[in-house]
Amino acid sequence: MKRSLLNMLSIAFMGILLCSCSTALKPYERQYVNDPEMAMSGSSIVKFQHYVCAIREGALVAEGNKGSGGCGCN
């Protein structure tokens, strides 16, 4: 799994390099990417699921910012 983390890092950097070459969209071409369902950050309901998983599993969720402290010890 350590190898998969390194692979993901290299894929991420390659993806960033490739995508930064993509051409800009005109405002009228942004109909789909600006749709609220396309938002990268999740809804409050999804954030609560990240919170539950962060407690019930040993791992952190990278895009799920911790909103408040708490022991999660129950």
């Binding site: 998969s4 609560f48 407690i55 990278a62 911790k66 129950n74």
Partner: protein, 391 residues
Amino acid sequence: MLFSKAQKKEAPAFRVNETEVELLYNHYIQDGDNSAVTGGEGTERLIVYGPTFNYKKEFGKNGLDFQFGVDVISSASTDNIDNIMSSASRVDTRTYSNLHYTEHFEKNKLSINIGLGASIESDYFSIGKYIGASKVSKNDMQTYSAQLQIFNDDLRWGRLDGGFLASPQFLIYPVELRFQEWYDEYERDSYNLNLGFTQVVDQRNSIGVFGILSLQKGLLATPFHRIFFSDDTEAVEQFPNKRHKMALSLKWNKFTGGGIIFKNTLGTYIDDFGILGLTLDHETAIKLSPKWTLLPSFRFYVQKESKYFEPLGVHSPNETYYTSDYDLSSFRSTRFGLGWRHWPAARKNKGLHIFSLQYFLYHRSDGLTAHTVSTSFNFKTKRARARKKKQ
């Protein structure tokens, strides 16, 4: 002449003031047989009733975000801190609040945000501090974000039980282990650095890379988690007083034909307790009409256990660090979700903006099962205001 005069006349400029109120309720039920309170064997039955109030206001260049919530926790395992035999569930309350302020710099497409937060339970008090920034590229194709979070926690018991906001008294150990102090500290500090990058790839695809680096210091064990050693003696959980964590997520959102949106996440996690995690997460949003969206989802997670974990009766008393908390064991978990989102006032500037109802079923390979029902009522008010002319 007339034409040039008309050209000089400036069009009135408006700013939109937006207020958003969200009423959220999460109902969480869990059951399993590996409670860390009873040393790795025993009920994990838990019910959480969680109402939350979110308030967001955008006024001109500034934004304010306020959150207040309460989790009422009915936990059979916590009851076993005092009594090994199961009895009626103990009820605890976690109250939390956050306030964030954002300043937008339109010229540079830059936002700076700062925040403060706090949460309190009978055996826990946490203060959170946040500072961050996000930047959108000139052509609106990329966003970059960074946020530093600092949490200063105190694990002493007694703030809610000896009268509201009473002085904390001591760490709470299992009833039969209160003859000595097991730790020489009661504070825990966490420093999280969140980094994010998103990129619009084309008209229907966008990707994101998110990372978190985390350092925890202080008392990282839970004082009332029991350990039963191989020679039948007993102690409480012990961990090193430092933990480094790192997580990375790749996200890919795709708007396909027919109003179907696929949101995919691949995540990895590693820390120096020896835990490795891999997550595959998929959400689909099916737009049945402009006002109705169906939300099926699936998540798969696999974890390699911490080097400090062993089941009940396996740890040797000669070890320095030990836990029988199954959250840190090796397992696989799956989560299925289904819900819908309703946009009753998509084109109006006032009233109920979004209503969501979602259900999640979580299952872990060690037998733990959890159900969550979440509902959200989101109200929005938009008002356009003419900008003040500079003198």
